[in-house]
């Protein structure tokens, strides 16, 4: 008996040690190195120097831009998301179910590809729409300059509003309809109910979605990089990129980058803390079991106009950019009008089969996505198991480490990985594909932990106890009961990592070397180099891969559920 309990003690210690080691190496060390580099100058702890860096014009302008842009996007995205969520859940809008699905599509599209498309349409001189207005309609200047704060906010809003849309439409659907009915029987009309009852009750969901938009926008690289750099609009991630890339790794620029990264981490942590507080304090018990469907607001005369508004919105966020990408990708030369004789498929053939740079990029993204998804999935299930199920000493440390990946933006992870793995501490992975892999694992650990913890929390302890009582050993119980029950969580984790990794830009753009471009990096750099047509063609292929991936998952998931 005693030897058995000893071995169990060993097992749990082993798992615990492994979990701590993974998180320390992958997440904690890079983070600490950032703080260390930011505050430790010439063997001294130095805050004054940090303040000095923050007071440099380019730094505080980037900070200000990040703030302005993310607040702007949060504001517009929240209004748009809440309005459409209300429209598809509480009114008699035609084709509501289809509309609801369509509003989720922008989530699949990488924002930087959207930004690229909008640049092609609305850049002040070359944009197709602007040229149409100047050349054909005789306007004096461009209709709209996308290289501006308004332009960046517009494009980010298009692709980030689903954060609020998902949260709010979910809350509205789950809300107990009698909360609204009791207001109606009390004498309130539908508009009063919406204003006084419905909106206040879903306010926690609105705010929580708004903070997600803010968090994402704050740390967002792609859109600002594509649309802002031309007119000198930098935010924190693009300035970090600029510092690392353009300054050839000088100490000063790395320090500036670490200081910026520190600000980003603190802001992100603050936003997440705020979100947790709102969810904790404001989580009203508004969900009830028995329910009739909520009364729909009759839009009457507004039914068709509002449907048109939805369609126009979807047209502008999904259809127009996608079509633009594919059309430009098929042009013989960028700038030509879209006529049959100007369109060709050679670009697509060239980047798929002939050009090493793009072929490598596709291969790199797929292999990096698969590898990081597999590793992170398994690491995540081990760590989640220790956190959720095991009673080991020092678990608090693990929980803290496990929280870290949630609040670390991509550019921070990339910077930390550069500091840790560039040979300074014995291992040099710089310019190899491995450094990107390590960064992906750190970046997506949060997804894996979330999915696996959720799955593990569903497995009640008594299930394992029942297996043990039936004579199973610890390992048999794990193998026969726990693993089969958390398998859906693991599958979910895999795809939650694989798909975003395919289109990743923020991290890989800081880490790529001559042969280690990813799809995102290739699209971005081709665009930077003026190879707009090839950039668009590759973006089109990326869109196809992404959509195929999403469809495949839907198939897998629904197939499982119906089985």
């Amino acid at each position: 008996m005693s030897s058995r309990s000893d071995s169990r003690f060993g097992t749990s210690q082993l798992l615990f040690g492994l979990s701590v080691a993974i998180l320390v190496i992958v997440v904690a060390v890079p983070m600490l190195l950032i703080f260390f580099n930011a505050f430790w100058v010439d063997g001294h702890f130095n805050v004054l120097d940090v303040v000095k860096i923050l007071r440099q014009p380019e730094t505080y302008k980037a900070l200000g831009n990040s703030l302005v842009l993310s607040v702007g996007v949060t504001f517009t995205g929240t209004i748009v998301g809440t309005f459409f969520a209300w429209l598809v859940t509480r009114t008699d809008l035609p084709f509501k179910k289809t509309m609801k699905l369509l509003f989720l599509v922008p989530f699949m599209l990488p924002a930087f590809i959207g930004a690229l498309a909008w640049k092609m349409l609305l850049s002040p001189r070359a944009g197709y729409i602007n040229r149409f207005f100047i050349d054909v309609l005789g306007f004096d200047g461009p209709l709209f300059n996308i290289y501006s704060y308004a332009g960046i906010i517009l494009v980010e809003t298009m692709y980030l509003f689903p954060f609020v849309f998902i949260q709010v439409s979910g809350a509205l659907e789950r809300m107990d309809p009698t909360l609204e009915e009791s207001a109606r029987i009390s004498g309130a009309d539908l508009l009063t109910i919406t204003r006084k009852i419905t909106i206040p009750l879903v306010m926690p969901s609105i705010l929580s979605g708004a903070l997600l938009i803010m968090l994402y926008s704050m740390a967002h690289f792609g859109t600002v990089a594509v649309l802002g750099i031309e007119t000198g609009i930098y935010n924190i991630p693009t300035l970090i990129y600029e510092k690392i890339h353009q300054s050839a790794g000088s100490f000063d620029s790395i320090r500036t980058a670490t200081v910026l990264a520190t600000v980003l981490v603190i802001t992100a942590a603050l936003i997440l803390w705020l979100q947790n507080r709102i969810l904790d304090k404001g989580r009203y018990q508004i969900i009830a079991g028995k329910s009739f469907r909520p009364t729909e607001l009759k839009l009457r005369g507004l039914r068709v106009p509002l449907l048109m508004l939805c369609l126009v919105y979807i047209g502008f966020t999904i259809v127009l950019p996608t079509v633009t990408i594919f059309m430009v990708g098929g042009l013989k030369t960028y700038g030509l009008p879209f006529t049959i004789e100007n369109l060709t498929l050679t670009n697509y053939r060239y980047i798929l089969f002939e050009w090493d740079l793009t072929r490598d990029a596709i291969w790199n993204s797929i292999s990096l996505g698969l590898t990081s998804a597999l590793i992170t999935m398994f690491a995540g299930v081990i760590i989640a198991y220790v956190i959720v199920k095991m009673k080991v000493r020092g678990k608090g440390l693990l929980e803290f480490l496990g929280m870290l990946p949630f609040s670390v933006p991509g550019s921070v992870i990339a910077l930390g990985v550069i500091l840790a793995w560039s040979g300074k501490y014995g291992i040099n992975l710089y310019n190899t594909v491995w450094i990107i892999l390590v960064a992906y694992i750190a970046r997506y650990m949060a997804f894996s932990l979330k999915a696996n913890s959720a799955a593990l929390e569903q497995v009640h302890d008594s299930l394992v106890e029942a297996a043990r009582a039936s004579g199973a050993t610890m390992w048999q119980a794990l193998k026969g009961i726990v693993i089969p029950l958390v398998r859906p969580g693991m599958v979910a984790a895999f795809f939650l990592i694989f798909l975003p990794a395919l289109r990743e830009l923020t991290v890989s753009v800081l880490l790529y070397g001559p042969t280690t471009r990813t799809i995102g990096v290739a699209i971005y750099t081709l665009n930077e180099d003026g190879e707009t047509v090839y950039s668009a063609a590759l973006a089109g292929i990326a869109l196809i891969i992404i959509v195929l991936g999403e469809v495949l998952i839907k198939r897998l998931v629904t197939g499982k559920n119906s089985a």
């Binding site: 009698t178 909360l179 029987i185 004498g187 009203y284």
Partner: protein, 352 residues
């Protein structure tokens, strides 16, 4: 004179007729409970009275005011019907204080401020909530939340109170207390009540009349005593109170159970059409069956359970099990004993 009138009220959901040509009159100050298993259409009926569902046929009036009419193509929205309503899941608003919850119907009516305060406080006083007025309803127990809902419904001084299973989310011991509070408030304010429940004892205790429904069709409307004492059909008999049934062969001279002939049990004379069919169901309440030493329907005691004050017997009569409940003060047979059963207040229903 009838105060609330439902005439031929019908509701269909697709192919299903949820409520089928329902007629009901409720007098001023009367309490009528709609009773039935889930899915019988009782909640749909209440929601049609409230105005949350439109009718597919028929009409509803209150006093001389038309509320809904299919033929007249008239439909008054719920916010203009001036009813008080209490829902099963409380439906008190967690983002407003107890006071603001109760004041809400008065505020949307744009009453003068002083009147809002006075009437809210009055409603809170009658529901013993004055001390909790400033707090959040989320800090109250289920019973407390339901009192807030009640106060909110009272605040507009309605003539009609619609209650949709208001007690079924409460702990059992709160339920009885709330029953009395509701009855008390009704006595004080004189409103009519339409009450939906699936709990027969709740319906019995609260209402002047009970309407029993099944799959959208009214089975019986009557006082609690009528519904319990003279159930209109087998369903009502079985749904209200404990019941047991024995299939019997019928002939003008008497009846037979599993081939054994018996005399007609006391008082029962089956209607001609049941008698003509040759078989029927003998129905009885377990408490209204007596043990007799000689004669009676013969059976064997299979199980015997003490329920405290009463003893619960399961008696095998041929293939059927008959349930008998007798006070523990009377001597009864033991398990395995043969015994005779006398049906003191039997009912007869057609088979199936």
């Amino acid at each position: 004179m009838a105060y609330i009138e439902l005439r031929q009220v019908t509701k269909r959901f697709g192919e299903v007729t949820a409520v089928d040509r329902l007629d009901l009159d409720i007098a001023q100050g009367e309490c009528v409970a709609m009773l039935g298993p889930s899915g019988c259409g009782k909640t749909t009926t209440l929601r049609m009275v409230a105005g949350f569902e439109d009718l597919d046929d028929g009409e509803i009036r209150v006093g001389d005011k038309l509320l809904s009419s299919r033929r007249g193509k008239y439909y008054l929205p719920p916010e203009q019907r001036n009813f008080g309503m209490v829902f099963q899941a409380f439906a008190v608003w967690p983002h407003l204080s107890v006071f603001e919850n109760v004041a809400f119907p008065l505020r949307v009516r744009k009453l003068p401020k002083a009147e809002i305060i006075a009437r809210t406080e009055e409603a809170l006083k009658h529901t013993n909530l004055l001390s909790a007025a400033r707090g959040s309803p989320d800090d109250l127990s289920g019973g407390g939340k339901q009192r807030v809902a009640l106060a909110r419904a009272l605040a507009i001084r309605p003539d009609v109170m619609l209650l949709d299973e208001p007690l079924s989310s409460l702990d059992p011991h709160f339920r009885e207390e709330m029953r009395f509070e509701i009855k008390d408030l009704q006595r004080r304010f004189g409103f009519s009540i339409l009450y939906v429940t699936h709990d027969q004892s709740e319906a019995m205790a609260l209402s002047d009349r009970i309407l029993v429904m099944r799959t959208g069709v009214v089975q019986q409307i009557g006082t609690p005593l009528e519904v319990y004492g003279s159930p209109a059909n087998r369903f009502v008999f079985e749904f209200i109170g404990l019941s047991c049934f024995l299939q019997a062969g019928l002939s003008p001279s008497g009846m037979s159970i599993d081939g054994t002939p018996y005399d007609w049990p006391g008082g029962l004379l089956p209607p001609a059409e049941i008698l003509a069919s040759g078989t029927g169901l003998l129905a009885a309440r377990p408490t209204e069956i007596d043990f007799v030493s000689a004669g009676g329907v013969r059976g064997v005691v299979m199980r015997k359970a003490y329920l405290g004050e009463t003893i619960d017997y399961r008696i095998a009569v041929g293939q059927t099990e008959v349930r008998v409940q007798k006070t523990r003060r009377l001597p009864g047979p033991g398990v395995g004993d043969h015994c005779g059963l006398n049906f003191s207040l039997p009912h007869g229903y057609p088979l199936g």
